[in-house]
Symmetry: C2
Subunit: 345 residues, 2 copies
């Protein structure tokens, strides 16, 4: 890595707590990863998993450290390690309990996606046929509480109405850490519903939010055939519409999870169905493009964006600067939030 390599932030990964993924981050010069701690799990399972994840991070302190603030991220990245920001892809861990936001926040959970794919106490995921938005009493209270505590709201898997209403209701900027633009991509494997409308990403940017774009085969225009140049073209398309300061990268890279776990993400226990066989066959390192086989290939994206014609300062914003700015505004002490104990060693 050259001295001028930009800070790289991957705004969404779901890595099992294993050293081999931390080594990939090191190889790719990744300064920060927002790592998923829960999808459908309730409070008890999630508190347990966070404990386990922290232990594994400490066992690999030469490569990684937990970050709770933007300053933590900068310091950890400057030391040549990867800062790990904890987050949820669902508010299931909070169950129906307004006080749990605080306990998770104090353990370092700084980002929460309001819903995974389905309706919950707060709103609706993209996979519901009907999205009733943020219409519940608890939903509105939850957004207020996340704003108050400095928990960044993520809307990546939310339905359109839930996305638009959450952007409107939140007093602080929100994020879409990992989703591509529907108008540009069309209907990929995950279906168009998983992608974000131009209206939504424009509203996000107007309120100071950041959109993380993903090379994930299931939500990119040409699937695994997508070239790096085509990926960069999508980045440019989005930048033209919502501005250079509202775009980042969120790979949605899921490392180490067997097909049974990916089936769990789809169907959990709310159904007895199983995922389509084709989807189940995706092994952890299959299905990604040659220019992004793993996070070790992040420098390819940096180089691709420079080749595409973005200026060096612009590439720095896209690769991590914008998310760092959003994290600084979101995790900050506006609510006098104490830093989690033992985070950021």
């Amino acid at each position: 890595m050259s001295r001028t390599a930009p800070l790289i932030i991957d705004a969404l990964q779901i890595p099992t707590p294993e050293r081999r993924w931390f080594e990939e981050w090191k190889a790719g010069g990744v300064g920060c990863v927002h790592a998923t701690m829960a999808i459908w799990e309730g409070a008890e399972e999630t508190f347990s998993y966070i404990g386990r994840y922290k232990r594994v991070l400490e066992e690999n302190a030469d490569l990684v450290a937990q970050a709770a603030t933007a300053d933590d991220i900068e310091r950890i990245a400057a030391s040549g390690r990867t800062a790990v920001v904890f987050g949820f892809q669902n508010t299931a861990p909070v169950e129906h309990d307004i006080e749990l936001f605080r306990s998770f926040r104090d353990l370092g959970v700084r980002i929460m996606q309001l819903t995974y794919n389905l309706q919950n106490y707060i709103g609706c995921g993209y996979w519901e046929a009907n999205d009733s938005g943020i219409s519940s009493r608890f939903g509105r209270k939850a957004i207020e509480e996340m704003n108050r505590l400095g928990i960044l709201i993520d809307l990546s898997h939310c339905g359109e109405r839930t996305t638009l209403e959450a952007i409107e209701l939140s007093a602080r900027p929100v994020s879409i850490t990992h989703a591509n633009p529907r108008e540009y991509v069309g209907s990929p494997t995950f279906g168009a519903g998983r992608l974000k409308t131009t209206e939504a990403i424009k509203a996000l940017a107007r309120r100071g939010g950041v959109l993380g774009l993903s090379p994930n085969r299931n939500m990119i225009k040409h699937g695994t055939d997508t070239t790096l140049e085509q990926f960069c073209d999508m980045v440019a398309w989005v930048v033209e519409r919502i501005g250079i300061d509202a775009v980042g990268i969120g790979t949605d890279y899921c490392a180490g999870h067997p097909p049974t776990v990916r089936n769990w993400w789809r169907y959990a226990r709310w159904s007895r169905e199983t995922a389509p066989a084709a989807q189940m066959k995706i092994a952890p390192h299959e299905g990604w493009q040659a220019w992004f086989r793993s996070p070790a290939d992040f420098p390819n994206i940096t180089a691709g964006l420079l080749r595409h014609g973005f200026a060096e300062a612009e590439v720095a914003m896209l690769m991590g600067g914008n998310f760092l700015r959003l994290f600084r505004e979101s995790f900050g002490d506006a609510a006098a939030a104490p830093r989690p104990a033992a985070a950021a060693s």
Copy 2:
């Protein structure tokens, strides 16, 4: 009690597991009570509470026994005791797990209200400003599963749209175990939303369901000033509209719970608010009319309905016959449901 006294079924009570309430049932000649096992509690707490409740029933086997079928109810009532049918006032105990319906059913939980006052994974309660109905994937699966397993759906606290859609979606008759008619009562303490529209109760009856009417001060026309004659007038008003075979009694009698618990029913942990002071001041035996100070006064209702002009056979239907018929159709072996072990001793 005379030999010809009708079988009395109270379609909804929330009694703490204590002998003193069982003695009231005995004094009132109550043959069956549908008793609430959960309001906001999740799976673990509810499984524990069911175990505790069964133990207490067994310790008071001279007065009570658990019932899992209509035959159980008839046999237990004929022995001079009260049959206790387990139910939930929310699907919170099922969490987001389709398999949990079976485990609760096999422990004797025969009735489940789809929602308490708020939105959950299945639908919306009456206290939401916006009721999105049964629009979630899990909601539809849950109704199918309850139909399959022989778990009677209860819609008492559900919002209007959730109520109407559940009546339509359910392949088997459903119940409203404890709610009064909105058109007749107007806007009582609980607010008009807690009451049922004429459209909803007519749809319920058309599909073979039964509505349990309540003397609860918070949802009756003249509050604690309501006379027995006025209560019977409400019964007659409803019978005229939905038929003599679709009406029963569900008192909503909550015995033994301190104000802190009633506050929990209202706000649980989804809010930091507390119930209005006035509501908190209602002690267990306060606030009920002189003709129904407790379930020991059930014979007053029987006598009142006879005085009002209902025939003896009609009174028998209203006091328990209709709910017994619905329970027989609903708990039955249509789905080859095994009887819970150890129920109905």
